[in-house]
């Protein structure tokens, strides 16, 4: 056997050393766990796909009725209101499902955690990847909606992958943080639906963020952009809808910096609690 034999030392507080290398070594487990979740979901129910389609669609209809018809809010640069809402619903749904499925992932895989070693970061990461698949399914609705409205995308559509990346970034940090909290404190799960619910209304999903900027001014808008999803959603709208509304760079930069900060915090906190996961699940 030519495999080089290296020495592994296990002692209290020593797991750090090989962590990132192990994470790379176990990358296939990430695909496989994500694949398992997707395969199981779509095997068990035909509703699986329908659910990924129906949920954002239904929410969009409600939002359009409330914000456009009842509250008479303006759309971004003349795009159909439904389209504007849906362009925001995509990243928001992704964020919400990522956070809530990641938060349940450790408990849901307790049998693995207590019986096999692998870098635990893989479990919530797989949950986020699974949510990404739902995102792509929902993206198909967007394409259909655009066809329906006869709304042609501009060159900016090509920048969308960058914003998808940003959304992934923005979701993973808080996702990890909440996953770790939820594993450590079993009553934290009651808080999660509240966070997701609350986030939906503080983020500019049902309305344009321009409304906020016009009413409260640039300084307050920057404060509003502390919510990383503001930058992500604006980016999505900018890329998908085209139109005259410019991309608000400071807000986008803030979103990026905060997402990175959240990610660092999430990874640190997760790593700190992770060691005891096998003892608490």
């Amino acid at each position: 056997m030519t495999r080089e034999v290296e020495e592994l030392v296990l002692e209290a507080g020593r797991t750090e050393r090989h962590y990132w290398r192990d994470l790379w070594r176990y990358r296939e487990l990430l695909y496989i766990l994500a694949w398992r979740d997707i395969a199981v979901r779509y095997k068990q129910t035909a509703i699986g796909v329908a659910w990924a389609l129906l949920q954002p669609l239904a929410q969009m209809v409600v939002m359009v009725v409330i914000f456009s018809k009842v509250a008479n809010m303006p759309s971004d640069g003349g795009a159909p209101y439904a389209l504007m809402v849906f362009a925001a619903m995509l990243p928001w749904q992704f964020f919400a499902t990522s956070v809530s499925s990641a938060s349940m992932s450790i408990a849901g895989n307790a049998n693995l955690i207590s019986k096999v070693y692998f870098p635990r970061l893989i479990v919530p990461a797989a949950a986020v990847v699974t949510s990404l698949v739902d995102f792509f399914i929902a993206f198909a609705i967007l394409v259909a909606l655009m066809l329906w409205y006869g709304y042609a995308p501009s060159w900016r559509m090509l920048t969308l992958p960058l914003f998808v990346l940003l959304a992934l970034f923005a979701a993973f940090g808080p996702g990890l943080l909440i996953t770790a909290l939820n594993t450590e404190y079993r009553d934290f799960r009651y808080v999660i639906p509240f966070i997701v619910q609350f986030g939906l209304y503080v983020s500019p999903v049902g309305f344009s963020s321009e409304v906020i900027r016009e009413r409260f001014g640039d300084a307050l808008f920057l404060l509003y952009s502390i919510n990383p999803m503001v930058g992500v959603i604006d980016g999505f709208r900018w890329a998908i809808l085209g139109g005259e509304v410019p991309l608000h760079m400071p807000a986008l930069a803030l979103s990026f910096v905060l997402s990175a900060g959240f990610l660092a915090l999430g990874v640190l906190y997760f790593r700190r609690l992770e060691r005891s996961f096998a003892d608490v699940v």
Binding site: E11, R14, A39, K43, A278
Partner: protein, 413 residues
């Protein structure tokens, strides 16, 4: 020296037991409340004494040993002796609290058969899933796929969801995946408790082969002493987290038998009342599907007729069955002042699980001594339940029966 693959030095693992919280989980609500209370106390200047509701418990302490390449180490001990904790540390599932382990080579652990198997997925899909969980790459799995399927003898059912597998097939498939890992070190927990005898033999053979001809190191935990004797030369006996004996397997097994013989509780003799002095459950037999319970008693007067009995309760507290000396024609007229009454049941119709034993002592008139929790019993039935079926749901007795079906002709397709 170059041959040493595992060196364990002064290993210890401490758990904190939390009282007061019955479910054992930490609730954020409690943590916040405690913090607020501590803050309030500090503000009021009453010191910062936080109520101590934690108790420390060492699951493992001062464990040291060395293993060389190609050796097979058996690990035996009673329930709660620290065997599983040791394996969990070695397989990196949990961190030690003190001490150090040096390992040279890749470790694969098989602490449970079919970890991560998903009932909805097919056999083929589960081979890939389980392989990845155990640390194999897709390329590796693909290369060994045929071998795995052949070892498991499930070739024909590879595209059937495993929820339709019999428990035997399920176990075979799961073990087959693990057996085809190529780690330098293989860590195996009580996995052979399931599966039929034929397959157990095959698994033991595979483990022997892996160590002797391929030079891999194996750590093997089992209650099945015959199996341990069969494949190990070296053995560790653990008790209450400490190493009692590390040496040739025969010595360890002998010491273990002595240890288990004295399990159960010993109580002081009372001068004025008939007393049960000890209740001993043979754990070794229990893990092989048999029951043997010895009840020692002492009485100031002759008990006539002597009535000694046990009641077996489920983990959740319902009585499963009871049996006393008045129920057996041979013992119905016994009389004695002192002795050991032993109940043997060769094939109790119980499903695998944890049971509580209550014992009582009396005569025709009354019970003199009753011990509600005389002993706990981990019973392993020779018949395994299908996946997802739990004795706590379907009841505790093992029945055998036969199903038939009549399908109306119109339904035939």
């Amino acid at each position: 020296m170059a041959d040493t693959v595992i060196r364990v030095e002064g290993l210890g693992k401490r758990y904190r037991l939390r009282h007061q919280r019955q479910d054992g989980y930490i609730a954020l609500r409690d943590v916040l409340a405690d913090k607020a209370r501590a803050l309030g106390r500090r503000l009021l200047g009453r010191g910062s004494a936080v109520p101590e509701d934690e108790e420390e418990f060492w699951a493992l302490r001062d464990v040291s040993f060395e293993l060389k390449r190609g050796e097979v180490l058996g690990i035996i001990g009673r329930n709660g002796a620290g065997k599983s904790t040791l394996l969990k540390i070695l397989s990196r599932i949990t961190e030690p609290t003190e001490g150090r382990v040096r390992i040279r080579g890749r470790v694969a652990s098989l602490l449970e058969v079919g970890t991560g198997f998903h009932p909805e997925l097919t056999g083929r899909e589960n081979i890939f899933l389980n392989g990845a969980i155990l640390g194999m790459t897709r390329v590796e799995i693909r290369r060994k796929f045929d071998e795995i399927a052949a070892f498991a003898e499930v070739d024909r059912f590879l595209d059937t969801p495993v929820k339709r597998y019999s428990s035997g097939m399920y176990v075979r498939l799961a073990f087959a995946v693990a057996a085809h890992l190529e780690p330098e070190i293989l860590v195996v927990d009580e996995v052979l408790a399931v599966g039929d005898t034929e397959f157990q033999k095959k698994c033991l053979g595979k483990m022997k082969e892996v160590s002797s001809s391929e030079g891999r190191t194996v750590l093997f935990v089992s209650h099945n002493l015959a199996a341990v004797r069969n494949i190990c030369r070296l053995c560790i006996l653990l008790d209450k987290g400490r190493v009692v004996l590390l040496g040739p397997v025969d010595d360890a097994v002998a010491a273990y038998s002595k240890l288990t013989a004295s399990s159960g509780r010993i109580r002081p003799v009372r001068a004025d009342m008939p007393t049960i002095t000890s209740v001993v459950v043979n754990e070794q037999l229990a893990s092989a599907g048999q029951l043997s319970i010895g009840i020692s008693f002492e009485s100031p007067t002759v008990l006539h007729p002597l009535i000694v009995g046990v009641v077996v309760y489920s983990e959740l507290g319902s009585a499963v069955f009871g049996f006393n000396t008045a129920q057996d024609a041979k013992s119905i007229q016994w009389s004695a002042k002192k002795g050991i009454a032993t109940l043997r049941i060769a094939d109790p119709p119980l499903l695998s699980g944890t049971y509580r034993i209550a014992a009582f002592l009396g005569d025709k008139m009354q019970n003199y001594d009753v011990i509600e929790d005389a002993a706990w019993l981990t019973f392993i039935s020779p018949v395994t339940l299908p996946m997802g079926v739990d004795a706590n749901y379907i009841g505790y007795t093992r029945v055998s029966g036969e199903w038939t079906i009549d399908i109306p002709a119109a339904e035939h397709r």
